[in-house]
């Protein structure tokens, strides 16, 4: 019986992809629900939670965009400039740190942030700004191996996303969607560091899909993979969202659908072979990535249980597909100010494309920062609701002809943000399949932190003004708030040690989107940067 237990739990944990004592993976579990079964802190007592400890990382550049990983009472935190800390999750005391030595000159346009490590097999894995993957000993922080993914200067790309672990491999994507390069997703053996497979997000000459690129444009077509994928062990598929084609705004030299940019791809976890793809935006000329999280959930569609994948794109549309084969199920918006298309039809095709003209300023909504930014959604199996943010903002895009120069910026245009009448942010609860909105929490500024859902029927997140707060998952009512002193751009988690539930959040304002926000909210230029983890729990006497 004792030996059967772990297997039973593994199966149960997959069908219900919830976290318990640990927060073992970037998305909570491999299905990226960001939902915990912990319910010690709930709607009735959340007003009583108090700070337990704070941890300062000492590097505020880019803010703190991380998801802390918690395993066996130890928190593993990655920060800007590839610092990793192992922290006693009860006391906040540092156990060890590892400061990766990046080259003095980075000089590429993506932020110096890191969004998290992966922990598996007694090791901690991180992707670096100079485009390496490193493996550290979990107990000591000692470096075990380090492999270069590609020359950073040649691809104009690096790693800011957290790795995904699947089938004994550590899988990483790269930035570079705004650089003249050809994107990929690469898997390394977790023991040896040797490359296991690579999937190029743009097919080479002679491969199926290459015909969707004009001439040699596929060589510099972007297709970055800058966020973290998901894994379905039963289907043996790794899911990853692919970013925009490059140049971002100028599409004349890359006529065609530009596969597999702005697509979700399903890869064989053993070989990296493409199982299926679903392209949301053929021939993107707005810089809309489909690179955000792939949330995997089984739900009834027209009375029949389906294995679904939910992916919100930067253009502000949520696409729901069948994750066994990529079949389109539904699409629905997370923002009101969307004018780049009139809508999505029943087959998943874009209707009424509004493409910016070359050399003539065109108003496009949302702004390049996205109808939602990368900060992740959460799904609660209790409420069966999908919790995600939306942003109301617009921009003027001026497209320019641009020729690619390997590894260098490749935008093909410029943008200037514009405030619509109802500009600002919101967090909403939706029915994940129909997109029916159940409640809305409005915010003066775009909400740029991830959502955390708990079995206490609470949604935790933070705002740019430094408030970390809890909403009632059923109604959206604000139940609790705490001022952390710097804005929120990371991902809160929850865990428990010796029976006490903790909620931890990164606090630390920064990032590219925080930077461009200043174009319409000038006062945000003075919002204080920071880089701290705050941890909360019920007072010992109360629980």
């Amino acid at each position: 019986m004792k030996t059967a237990l772990p297997l039973f739990f593994a199966v149960a944990a997959f069908a219900q992809d919830v976290t318990r004592e640990d927060w073992p993976q970037y998305g909570g579990g491999p299905s990226a629900w960001r939902h915990s079964a912990l319910d010690q802190i709930d709607r009735s007592n959340v007003r009583q939670i108090v700070p337990v400890w704070a941890f300062q990382t000492g590097k505020v550049d880019g803010g703190l965009q991380s998801t802390p990983i918690v395993v066996d009472g130890v928190m593993y935190l990655a920060t800007s400039w590839n610092r990793v800390f192992a922290i006693d999750a009860v006391t906040g005391k540092e156990l060890w740190h590892y400061f990766y030595q990046n080259p003095r000159e980075i000089g590429i346009i993506y932020s110096p942030v890191n969004r998290g490590v992966a922990v598996d097999s007694g090791r901690v894995f991180m992707g670096t700004l100079d485009n390496h993957v490193v493996a550290l000993d979990r107990k000591t922080g000692r470096e075990l191996w380090k492999t270069n993914v590609e020359d950073m200067q040649q691809c104009g790309c690096n790693i800011t996303g957290a790795p995904l672990i699947a089938k004994g491999k550590v899988i990483v994507g790269v930035t570079g969607g705004d650089s003249a390069h050809r994107g990929y997703i690469t898997a390394f053996d977790i023991k040896t560091g040797r490359q296991a497979w690579r999937f190029w997000t743009i097919p080479a000459k002679g491969e199926k899909g290459n015909e969707t690129w004009l001439g040699d444009s596929w060589k510099y077509g972007g297709g970055s993979s800058w966020m973290t994928g998901s894994f379905d062990a039963e289907l043996n598929m790794v899911y990853w969202g692919v970013g925009n084609p490059a140049a971002d705004f100028y599409g004349e030299s890359r006529k065609g659908a530009n596969l597999y940019t702005d697509s979700v791809v399903a890869l064989d976890a053993d070989t990296g072979a493409l199982k299926w793809h679903h392209q949301q935006i053929p021939h993107d000329v707005w810089d809309w990535d489909s690179a955000y999280e792939c949330l995997l959930v089984d739900l009834p569609v027209n009375g029949k249980m389906r294995k679904l994948l939910i992916n919100v794109n930067k253009g502000g549309y949520t696409f729901v597909v069948d994750r066994t084969n990529g079949e389109f199920i539904s699409a629905w918006p997370v923002a009101k100010n969307i004018n780049w298309i009139a809508g999505v039809n029943a087959k998943g095709e874009l209707m009424g494309r509004n493409e910016p003209a070359i050399g003539k300023p065109t108003t496009i909504c949302p702004s390049i920062g996205g109808g939602r930014s990368w900060n992740h959604a959460a799904y609660s199996p209790r409420t069966k609701l999908f919790y995600t943010t939306g942003i109301e903002w617009c921009q003027t895009v001026t497209v320019q002809k641009e020729d690619p120069k390997e590894g260098q910026n490749f935008f093909g245009g410029v943008f200037q943000l514009k405030m619509p009448a109802d500009g600002g942010g919101h967090l909403d609860a939706y029915d994940p399949v129909s997109g029916k909105r159940i409640w809305t929490y409005r915010s003066k500024y775009p909400l740029l932190a991830s959502q955390l859902s708990t079995a206490g029927d609470l949604i935790f997140t933070g705002d740019p003004e430094g408030n970390f707060f809890a909403l009632d998952a059923k109604t959206g009512e604000k139940l609790w708030s705490f001022q952390t002193g710097s804005g929120h751009r990371g991902s809160p988690v929850t865990y428990s040690v010796r029976g006490r539930q903790y909620v931890a959040t990164p606090s630390g304002w920064g990032s590219a989107v925080a930077g461009i926000m200043t174009q319409i909210w000038p006062e945000t230029e003075d919002f204080p940067p920071g880089s701290t983890v705050f941890t909360f729990a019920l007072p010992e006497v109360t629980r």
Binding site: Q153, C155, T192, T398, G515
Partner: protein, 268 residues
Amino acid sequence: MIAVALLMAQAAADPAAVAKGEAIFAQSCSVGYCHGVGGSAGRGPRLRGRGFDRTYLVNVTRDGVPKSAMPGWKDRLSGGEIDSVVSYIMSLASATDAAPANPMPPGVGPAAVNAFKGPAQAGRGHAAFFDAQKQPRCATCHALGGRGIAAGPDLSKAASMTPKQLGAAIQATSSNHTSIVKLKNGESFPALQTGSEGGIVKLYDLTSPPPVLRSVLREEIGSIAKETGWSHGAVSKEYTAAQLADIVSYIYYAGAGTTRPVKAEELK
């Protein structure tokens, strides 16, 4: 001092320099998440409506800001172009609007950093050496001309070798730089030792490209044997004989500055 101040004022006020700088700025600095249209801010700081010291701006534009996203532009823009961009940024100091009403239509843009200037065969060799569509390629393990991953030996020194020697090094069945490392746990792999510090030995595992930099505890190592058993095989097969000749010609050009045509037969 007064003369310098006058010169600076003159440079900042020169409308031709400002206009030229505006065009360069529009393509190089406004783009993407960087400084925004007319310096209206992005991931990079706002440049509009702020006063800067000219020397500071020249230095930062030329050399970049270490440990930041700001690259040095000295490889992409000429000194004159950098001066013009700085003149334009200085002219934004008095701007009171959030962004220009009529942003400059972008121009041609900065030069490519990795553009090759040199003889045709070496140029073809350079392209093959750094061909990003090939994985692996020479640059997966070797740096040359200031680019690439410097795991393997410094190839600038290889320019003293004959084409036949280079051909042998690239295509031969073994290499004299590598060892076979056997760990006490039974694991063994071909390796290139790069150094040791304290009780830790750093080795490149060359089993398959890209190389893996392993940090192994000294006590974990059973033996390090100077043995043949590793070759460039997997990588050299990525190239045709003609491409290998081009690459050798590029090694001569990059390493010694010599223009030397190389025929495929010479590598045999």
